[in-house]
């Protein structure tokens, strides 16, 4: 009897191990750039109140992630995302390369753009990404973002380079058959979306000053390889299944902040840009045509940018847009996989920022507003008798020469910049641990306080690679 129980327990144990590996046919990896714990809490209160929940809050499994890079306590987005994608610690500014790779800045081409890639041939070796491994196993793969498509986070999924700023070279790595192509992508990334057409199109002194100096039209090359090429939300919506897809929704630089994209009238090119949720659903439509499953990376990339400017309102609204994309993905996946038995969804951030949640504010006080005392409801005052906001930053540009009262209307304005402790021209990342949320196939292995490189191991295991 005793032996029977032990045997049964062992069998159960083995079954659990076996189930933990290879459960996931599909993985969607959501990355909120710079979305540290305080940003998540503030966004939750902003949209749903103190006792509400973001969609990411509702995922069953959680972990905390250490984010330091190979050479820095506080990472930038290149090595932190690359650690998730490759399992390798590398130096700041390096994209999906071996640890010893030295970050070497690109230099200017004849037009003054950073078009000359100075990464030497012997400077490190490529570290395989989870996207490449998925592609090699016959899955469809995609990488979509609200930043430039060649920005660090998406670049870490499909390219290998010694410096994140060599964006023209990064773009070339995505074009099947072209010079500089990353052959580990097989016949190419199936879905690519983001901003920054200038890195893919030829220089023009009038119309494309930040264009490619080599004269290549990478979008034409991609079209020749069978890609649908889109520049607007309408073109994205109309794109047929069964073809690879690239959508670049800004002529240069990033997509608009969500606050500006949805403004009346929309700012910049916002009127023709899709939301991250719309991009996510379309990407899932396209990728799910592959019977072997898919890997999709979705980045809310401009959370980080608004935080660098200490503009909390734009950071929170972009976090909500990112969270809405998670909801859209969950709803979409459950249409065909109701219990997520085949689909793993991960939500995390690549690093923290210096956003702090400050003072003893009253419940229900708007999170972007000046702080109001929880007992009296009256404005809280600093030691000099001035009001202050609940959200502040450890460093950044808005350290007033003379601190005076912050009035509520100003603090709630779209362009208000939260005040900072140390005055820097741009706020820095933070070195604290970030949160990770998981649900679906293989989610239970994501737990405890883990290194960012461990996330890659767990993703690989979930896929059964």
């Amino acid at each position: 009897m005793k032996h029977t129980l032990i045997a049964a327990a062992l069998a159960l144990g083995f079954a659990n191990v076996a189930n933990a590996a290879g459960e996931a046919k599909n993985i969607i990896f959501f990355l909120g750039d710079g979305m540290g714990p305080s940003t998540i809490t503030a966004s939750r209160i902003y949209k749903y109140g103190e006792d509400g929940s973001l969609n990411m809050d509702k995922l069953e499994r959680t972990a905390r992630v250490k984010t330091y890079s190979y050479d820095a306590q506080t990472t930038d987005s290149a090595p932190s995302m690359a650690a998730y994608m490759t399992g390798v610690k590398m130096a700041n500014e390096v994209i999906s390369m071996s640890s010893e790779t030295v970050a070497t800045s690109p230099s200017k081409d004849v037009n003054g753009n950073l078009g000359v890639n100075n990464c030497a041939a012997g400077n490190g070796t490529a570290a395989a990404t989870i996207l490449e491994l998925a592609k090699a196993k016959g899955k469809a793969v995609g990488s979509i973002t609200t930043t430039e498509l060649t920005h660090a986070t998406p670049a870490a999924t499909y390219s290998h380079i010694c410096n994140r700023n060599a964006q023209y070279a990064i773009a070339a790595q995505a074009v099947p058959g072209g010079a500089g192509y990353n052959t580990a992508l097989g016949d190419g990334v199936d879905v690519l979306m983001g901003g920054g057409r200038n890195h893919f199109t030829p220089y023009n002194a009038t119309t494309n000053k930040a264009g490619r100096a080599d004269g290549r039209d990478l979008l034409a090359e991609l079209a020749a390889k069978g890609y649908t090429v889109a520049g607007t939300k309408a073109e994205m919506t109309a794109a047929p299944n069964g073809k690879k897809f690239i959508g670049l929704y800004s002529s240069k630089s990033h997509l608009e902040y969500e606050l500006d994209r949805t403004a009346t009238p929309p700012v910049g090119e916002g009127a023709t840009q899709p939301s991250l949720a719309e991009m996510t659903v379309k990407a899932m439509d396209l990728l799910s045509q592959n019977a072997n499953g898919y890997f999709l990376m979705v980045e809310g990339g401009r959370i980080d940018h608004a935080l660098h400017g200490t503009n909390a309102k734009r950071a929170l609204t972009d976090t909500i847009a990112f969270d809405d994309a998670i909801k859209a993905a969950l709803d979409k996946a459950k249409l065909t996989d109701p219990t997520l038995a085949n689909t793993l969804i991960i939500v995390t951030a690549d690093h923290d920022h210096t956003l702090a949640f400050n003072g003893y504010g009253k419940r229900g006080n708007p999170i972007l507003d000046i702080n109001r005392d929880y007992k009296t409801g009256q404005p809280s005052k600093d030691a000099d008798g001035n009001t202050y906001t609940t959200l502040v930053f450890g460093n950044g540009p808005n350290r007033p020469n003379l601190r005076t009262n912050v009035d509520s209307t100003t603090a709630l304005g779209d362009n208000y910049l939260q005040e900072t402790g140390v005055r820097l021209s741009s706020e820095t990342h933070g070195g604290g641990d970030v949160k990770l949320f998981a649900t679906g196939a293989g989610a239970k292995t994501f737990k405890g306080t883990i290194d960012n490189t461990k996330v890659f191991t767990l993703l690989k295991s979930a896929f059964g690679f």
Partner: protein, 227 residues
């Protein structure tokens, strides 16, 4: 909040007038900023800085006056990183009016780069997006709504105006002919906070205009400096 930012913010409270804005001549200006605050702990804090400004039809060019020792530091040190060091305070600011749209860019002369700032990032560089505020330093239509003040002016054609509300005041010595404030003062009547901006027009206009010296400069974007 800098004085430059504080004054337009206060001015926005004033009622809009229907008065037409007279033609405003080109000017070369030197602008001195001063702020003082007295804290409940008895500490007095003072801040001073200066800027120069060129205004021409469609162009405003503002440069911070830096001390000699600042020459050893630089606002955008690309030798170390191309995306982490961008201090707009230290770079000349070029505001343009193209049709009915305001455009903002910073000029990095060391690296020969023009750094464009999209509208969505204006707040991050302390720019309110107003061509009127950039060109006139104070909205002339708001000036017209402010009552005259019995305070003598030594400048012909310039008169003081003042608006007091909720314990705060702002006073403007407005030069009607040149369409520019010669002095703006604001603060609270309890005298805990005081701001003063003093504007001096140069006797001669510069003939070499810096925005015409940008041939060969490469184009960068504010987003390039975000990681």
């Amino acid at each position: 909040m800098t004085l430059r930012k504080a004054i337009p913010a206060l001015a926005l409270i004033a009622l809009q007038s229907q008065a037409a804005t007279p033609a405003a001549p080109p000017l070369d200006l030197r602008i001195q900023y001063y702020s003082k605050a007295i804290t409940p702990e008895g500490v007095t804090r003072e801040v001073r800085y200066e800027e120069t400004m060129l205004r021409r039809p469609g162009h405003v060019w503002v440069t911070r006056v830096l001390p000699p020792q600042a020459a050893t530091t630089h606002a955008a040190d690309h030798d170390h990183s191309v995306h982490k060091h961008f201090n707009p305070v230290l770079l000349p600011r070029h505001v343009q009016l193209a049709g009915d749209k305001t455009q903002l860019e910073y000029i990095d002369t060391k690296n020969k780069e023009v750094i464009a700032v999209p509208q969505g990032e204006y707040g991050n560089v302390d720019f309110d997006g107003s061509w009127t505020n950039a060109y006139y330093l104070f909205d002339p239509k708001i000036v017209q709504t402010m009552p005259f003040l019995q305070r003598p002016s030594t400048v012909p054609g310039a008169r003081w105006r003042e608006l007091v509300r909720n314990g705060s005041f702002r006073r403007v010595l407005w030069d009607e002919q040149r369409q520019i404030p010669l002095v703006i003062e604001s603060g609270d009547q309890a005298a805990t906070v005081f701001h003063r901006m003093e504007v001096q027009a140069e006797p001669k206009l510069a003939t070499s205009l810096p925005w015409q010296q940008l041939k060969g400069y490469s184009q960068r974007d504010y987003g390039d400096f975000l990681d």
